[in-house]
Symmetry: D2
Subunit: 425 residues, 4 copies
C-alpha cells in the first residue's frame, strides 16, 4: 500500500497531540499517512511539540513526515483530514467559564451551561475562519473536529461554510465501551438507539449480539456512569451522558464546584506546565506520565475510527454530531444532533430513530433550543440573542440571573469576542 | 325565542358560582337558559349557594329555574353544558401545594410546578368519573372546564373518555383585553398568534384592525403584564402569560413566597369563610363585596363566550385548550395545547400556526413533556412516571430534590390520591 | 358610514365584471365603495365595459365612481382591493388547451391537466408583473384572485412577490351550498373538513348545527355533485370537487369531449360576441340574458364574501387557496392548498386538519407535486421542469405521450410564453 | 467454527430453491449451516426437490443435513432463518393477473397494478398464518421474505404479527450492480440515496469511493436500466427501478403485452415443466440449464447477504423493505418502504434521507397510498377498501374501469380469497 494521506492538525500545540500521533501509528497498517502537519498560533508550544513528535515517531518506529507551520495555506493544501482541537483563550479563559457562573449559583463548566456558551462564542469565529480556508485549500478534506463544544461548532460551520465536518466526542461511544467492559463482550457486538446532543444524550434499546440486554446487565452497565444516580438511571431505564449530572444533580454539583480548591482549568494549567516541560526535554521521546492525569481519553480512538471508516470505506456504526435532517422529528432540520450514523467514504448517514424515550424529550428540546440560539448569537454577535440563549438554557432560565451574568461574562472574555464588539460597542 | 338550555354546574359550592350566574343573566338575550342545576359533594356549601342564587336571580330579575342536587344522574340528564370548577381537597390541599415545595427552594403554586402536578393528581381521577357520567347521561353536552390545571385535565379526559370538552382559562384572552385597554380599541379588532400551554404561553404577531401593532403600542401593551420584566418582554418581543414569572423570575418569586405571611390558599380560606357568611345571610341578594378580593376575574366572560359561540354558532376566535393534532409541529398529536381556535357549534378548530418564536420553543416543549408525563401518572398512579414528570419539569429538574419532595407530597395528599395507593401501597 | 373603499378590477374587460358590480351593489350597506377602476389591456372591450357599467350602476341606483384606465399605476394607487380575473391569450388560447391534449387521448380542459398547466404558464408571468405593481403602488391592498388556475397563481405569487393574496374559487363553498339546498338549512349552519387543492379536493366530517350529517342526508347532498358517480361517492363517503370527474371518469370524459361539436372555449367565444354586442348597446343598462349561459356562478359571492370578511373584520369561515404552512402534514410548507380558513381583517388563517380520508391522500399528493413543478417551470421557463410536471400529473404520467405533447403545446402558445423563449430558443 | 444454523425454506418446491442452496454452499465459510428444511404444501414438487437438493449438495461437496416436511411446526422449531418464497395459486393464478387487466386496457403484471394487488390478496392471508407459526415455534428467527409483492407482504405482517421480517428484492441493490459493471468498480465502493417502494423507487446522489459520479458516468450507468427511456432518466437525473417502465411507458407496454404470444406466467408454466423434469431426473445432480431462462437472478445473493449481515453482525449497507418510522417524512410511520439500511445482528436500521428528488414524490405517495389501502383490504377482505385501493393506483384511477375489473378479478381468484368470501358472500 502506498503512503498517501496528509493530515493537518490545527491547534497542534495541544497536549493531546501525541496521543493522536500514537493512535495514527497504531493504525499505520490501515491508515497509510505520509505527512502530518502541525499548525498552531502559539509558536512556542508548536515548536516544543514539533520537537517532541519527531522524537516520538522515531521511538514508535513510525515512518511519517512531520513538520510544523503557522500558515493555514501551507498546512491545508493537499490535506485529506484536518483535525481541529482548538481552545480560544486557552485554559485562562476556561477558568472564567468555570468561576463566574458559580458566583451566580450556577454550574461553571467548559461545555455545559454558561461556560459552554462562551466557549462557543470564542471558538466559533475562529473555526469559521479555519473552515473557510479548508474550503479554499483542501475542499475535499474532512474536518475532524474536537474543539468544544463540538455540537455548536458543527452547527455553526454547517450554517456558514460549505465543508465536510464530523463533530466528534468520545461520549457517544462510551455506552459501548461501558457495556463491553461491564459484560466482557467485544464492543462491536453492542448497539443502541441514541437520542440527544453532545453531552446531553441518552442511549437505550441496547442489544448485544442482536438480543436485548437483560435488566441485570443494564444495572451492571450503568454502574460505569458514575456521575449520575444509579436509582435515577434505573427509573429512566436509559444510559445517560455523564454530563447529565449537571442537570440531574445541579445543586450538589454546584456545591462541589464551589468547595473545590482549584477549578479543572486551574489544575490543568498547572499540569500542562509540567507536561510541556517534559515535552520540551530533548532527551525525552515518550509520552509524559503526567498526561494520564490530564483526562480526555478516547479522543484518538474515535478520531482515528472516523478517519479509518472514511478512508477505508468500512461502513462503521459510530455516534457523531451531524445535521438532524429529520432524524429526530421534534427538532429542526439544521439542528446538529449527536446520533448513531453509518460512516463510510460517503460520509455520515444518521440511522432513523423509531421511538423516543418519553421522559427526556423536553430536556433535549430545551437544550437544543439554547444551542441553536447560542450558535446564532456566536455568528452574529447579537447580544439579545445571547440573552435569549441563556434564558433558554435549562441550567439558567432565570432572567434576573442571566442578565447580569451575561454582562460579566462578555466583559471577562471581551478580547476573544470580536463579533460582540464590532463597532467598538 | 324559547328557553331551552339546561346548564349543570359541577362544584357549584365554589364562591365563583354567582359570577357565572351573573354572566348568564347578562347574556339572557342570546343564551336562553331555562334551567340551572347546582351540583356539589359539599352539601352545606351547596345548600347555602342554592339559597343565595335563588335570591340573586330574583334580584337580577332573571327568570330561570335553579335547583340543586348531589346526584350526577339528575344533574346531567338533559344538560347542554356541564360547567366543571372543582378543587379536590379544597384550599386545605392547596396549602400543601404552596408550602411544601418552598421547603425545597421551589415555587409553591396551585397550577405551576410541583403544586400544579399534585393538583392534577387529585383532580383528574374525579374529573374522569364526572366525564364518564357525562358520556352516560348527556353525551352531546359540552364540558366547559375550569378545574385547574385545565390543560392537564383536558388531556386526561381526551385520553380516557369520549366527551366534548373545552379547557378554559381567561389567560388566553388576556392579551386581547390588555391591548384593548392599553390602546383603547375594541377587543374584537385584535388578533395574535398564540403558542403554548395553559399558563405557559406567548402571544405575538399581534394585529389591530389588520395592521401589525407598532413597537410603541407593543411597549404599552406589555405594561399590563406586570409580573414579568418589561425589559425581558421587549427583548423577547412576545407577550407572555403572567404565570411565566415563575420561570423567568424564579429566585425572586421563591423569595417573595417564602416571605409572605400567608399563602394564597390560606388567605382565600379565610376570605371564603367571610364570603360564605355573606352568601348564607338570607337577607342578602347581592354578590358579596369581599368577592372582589377573591380574584379569578374573566372566568365567566370566557365560559359564557364559549357557550355563546357554540349555542349560537357564531364562529368566534377564542384561545382554548384542545388536542394539538398537528397545530404545533414539534408536539405530539394528543398533547393538549392552549391555542387560538375558531369556535362554533361544530366545536373548536385550532388555527394553523405558521411560525414559532424561536426563543421559547424549548421551554414550551419541556413544560409540555412534564405535562404529558404527569397526565399519564395521574391516570395510572405510577410513581416512577410521577418522578420522571417532576424531573422533566423545568422548575424542578434536580433528581436529588425531586425524589424526597415527591415522597413528602404523596404522603401529604394521600387521602386524595387513590390511584397511587391502590393496593394499600 | 363614509364611503372609503377603492377597488381595482384587473381584466375588467371580462364578461364577468357586471356580476361583480352587481354583487358590490347588493352589499353597499356593508362595503362602502367610493370608487371602482376598470383596467384591461384590451382597450376596445374596456371601453364597452366602462360604458355599460356606468349605465348599469345608474340602473342599480348604486352611487359609486367608475372609471377605466390601462395604467396599473393609476388603477392601483390608493386601492384597497385588486380583483384579478385575467385570461392570457383569451379564449383562443384556451381552445388549444382544450383541443391539443385530446389528440393524445388526454383530457383537454382549462384548469385540469395539460391545459391547466399551459394556462398557468401564460398567466403566471403576467400576474407576477401585476403583483409587483401592487407591491409598488398599493402594498396594503389585498389581491382577490380569480385568474385560473388559482392555486398555481397563488403559489407563484407567494414565491416571487411580497403581496397579500387570496386565491379564490367558488368550489370550496359549494358543499355548503349543496347541503343548504338539499337539506333546506341555512348555509351558515354547515361546516366540514376540507382536504386538497383547487379543483382537486374533498369535503368530509360535515356537520349541520353542530351534529354530523346522517347517511341519508349525505346521500342527498352528493346528488348535487352531478359529475361524479354517486356509487363512488358513497364508497368514498366524501364530497368531491366536481372537477374530480376528470380523474375518476377519465375515459368517459375524454370520449365525451372528443364527441362534442365545439369545445367550451369555442362556445364561449361565440357567446361572448353576443354578450359584448349587448354590453355595447348604449340603450341597454341591464345584464344580458345570454350571460346566464356563460356559467361561472358563485364568483361574485365568494369574492365579495372575502372582501366583506376582511373589511368588516367579521371572522368568517371560508375555503380559500393559501400557503400550507403545516396545515396538511404530508405537503410542503410553501405548497398552496385550498382549505378552510378563518378570514378576518388579519387575513386568512387555515384551520388545523386533524384527520385525513385515507383513500385520497395519494391523489392529492400527486396533483400537488405536479402543481409545484409546474409553478417552478412557469416562473423559470425551464423545459425539463415542465416535462417533469407533465409526467408527475396523474392524468398524463406516460413519458412517451408527455414529451411530444409538451412540444406541441409550447409551439401553439409560443406568443404567450416569453419565459420559455427567452434567448430566442 | 461449529455448524449451528438451521434454515427453513417455505415454498421450497419453487424452482429457485437450488439457487439458494448454491448460494449457501458458496458462503459455507461464513454461514455455518447444519440443517436445511424444505417445506411446501405441494408434496409432489417437494419430494422432487428434496431428491434433487440431496444430489446437488453432494455434487457441491456441501456438508449439510437436508430434509423435507409439510409440517410448519417441525420445520420452524429451532430455525434461525425462515426463507419464504411462496406463490399462492401458482402460475395459473398469475396468468389471470396478467391477462384480465389487459382486457381493460391496463398493465397485467404480477407485482405492478391490479395483478400485484390480487397477488397480495392471495399471498397475505397465507403469509400471516406462516408468520403466526414463526411467532409460536421460532420467535427469534428472521423471516427472509421473497414472496411477491414483498412490500405489501411486509407491511401486512408488521401490522398483524410480531415477527422479525426482512422484505427482500434484488431491485434495491441493482443500481450498485449496474454501476459496478458499467464503471468497472467494486460494488462496495458505491452508495446512493434511495427513495421509494418495492418496484417503485429511485436512486440518486450516487457516490463512488466517496465522490459523486460524473454526468458521463451517470449516463453509462443508466444504460443498464434498459426498460426506461434514457432521455427521460437524463431529464430526471435519477436511476429508476426497471418496473417504473409500467408507469412511464404505460401505453407502449400495454400494447406489447397485448401483442405477446404468451404471458410471462404462461411461459414460465411451460418452462417449469421442463425444469422439474430435469430436477426429477435421478441421474441429474446439477442445476438445469433451462433455469437460466427462468429469470429472477440476484435472489440468492441478496437473501444470503442479509443472512450473513445478521449472523455475522457485519453492519452492511443494504436496501430492504422495512417500516418507514420517519425515514420518508411524507409517508406514515407504519408504511413499509424500500430503503437503504444498516444491517447487523440488531436488525435493519434505515438511514435518514436528507433530501428528496422533487419530480417523483407525488408518484411514490400515490403508489404507497394504493399499497396501504390494498394491505388493509387484504387483511380484512373489505371490498370497498379494495375498490378504493384500485382507484388510488396511478395505473388504474378510473372508477368506471376499476369497478367491473375488481369484480372480474375477485371472481377469477375466488378460491384463494377466503377473506373476501367469509360469509359465503
Amino acid at each position: 500500500m502506498n503512503k498517501e494521506l496528509k493530515i493537518a492538525i490545527v491547534g497542534a500545540g495541544s497536549s493531546y497531540t501525541p496521543e493522536l500521533i500514537e493512535g495514527l501509528s497504531e493504525h499505520r497498517e490501515t491508515l497509510p499517512v505520509k505527512e502530518i502537519v502541525l499548525l498552531d498560533i502559539n509558536e512556542e508550544r508548536l515548536s516544543i511539540m514539533e520537537g517532541f513528535v519527531k522524537r516520538y515517531i522515531k521511538h514508535l518506529n513510525y515512518d511519517v513526515k512531520v513538520w510544523s507551520t503557522t500558515s493555514r495555506e501551507e498546512a491545508f493544501t493537499g490535506a485529506d483530514f484536518v483535525s481541529t482541537q482548538i481552545r480560544v483563550g486557552g485554559n485562562k479563559a476556561r477558568i472564567f467559564d468555570e468561576k463566574i457562573p458559580l458566583k451566580y449559583g450556577l454550574i461553571g463548566q467548559e461545555t455545559t451551561g454558561v461556560g459552554g456558551m462562551f466557549n462557543a462564542f470564542r471558538v466559533i469565529p475562529v473555526m469559521i475562519e479555519i473552515a473557510k480556508d479548508v474550503e479554499k485549500y483542501c475542499p475535499n478534506a474532512w474536518i475532524i473536529n474536537y474543539s468544544n463544544p463540538t455540537g455548536l461548532v458543527t452547527e455553526a460551520l454547517n450554517k456558514v461554510c460549505n465543508v465536510k465536518i464530523a463533530g466528534l466526542c468520545a461520549g457517544g461511544m462510551r455506552p459501548r465501551w461501558w457495556a463491553a467492559e461491564a459484560l466482557n463482550v467485544p464492543e462491536e457486538k453492542i448497539y443502541y438507539d441514541y437520542l440527544g446532543l453532545n453531552h446531553m444524550n441518552f442511549s437505550y434499546n441496547m442489544t448485544i449480539d442482536g438480543r436485548p440486554v437483560t435488566d441485570e446487565e443494564f444495572s451492571n452497565i450503568i454502574k460505569k456512569c458514575t456521575t449520575v444516580s444509579q436509582d435515577w438511571m434505573e427509573t429512566l431505564h436509559l444510559i445517560p451522558s455523564q454530563y447529565t449530572q449537571y442537570y440531574f444533580h445541579t445543586k450538589e454539583r454546584v456545591q462541589q464546584l464551589k468547595e473545590q480548591d482549584k477549578t479543572r482549568g486551574e489544575s490543568i494549567l498547572e499540569l500542562e506546565k509540567q507536561i510541556f516541560r517534559e515535552y520540551a526535554d530533548e532527551t525525552n521521546d515518550q509520552k509524559p506520565k503526567t498526561l494520564a492525569k490530564r483526562g480526555g481519553g478516547g479522543y484518538s480512538k474515535v478520531a482515528i475510527g472516523v478517519m479509518d471508516a472514511i478512508y477505508n470505506d468500512t461502513g462503521k456504526w459510530m455516534v457523531i454530531n451531524v445535521a438532524n435532517n429529520g432524524t429526530v422529528r421534534f427538532l429542526d432540520d439544521d439542528a446538529v444532533i449527536e446520533t448513531a450514523c453509518y460512516v463510510s467514504k460517503n460520509g455520515m448517514k444518521p440511522l432513523t430513530i423509531a421511538d423516543y424515550p418519553k421522559a427526556i424529550v423536553g430536556l433535549v428540546s430545551a437544550v437544543k433550543n439554547y444551542e441553536s440560539l447560542a450558535v446564532e448569537a456566536a455568528i452574529t454577535g447579537d447580544k439579545d440573542l445571547a440573552l435569549q440563549a441563556l434564558v433558554a438554557h435549562p441550567l439558567v432560565r432565570d432572567y434576573d440571573i442571566a442578565k447580569p451574568l451575561l454582562e460579566e461574562m462578555l466583559e471577562a472574555h471581551k478580547d476573544y469576542l470580536p463579533q460582540f464588539y464590532k463597532n467598538g460597542k
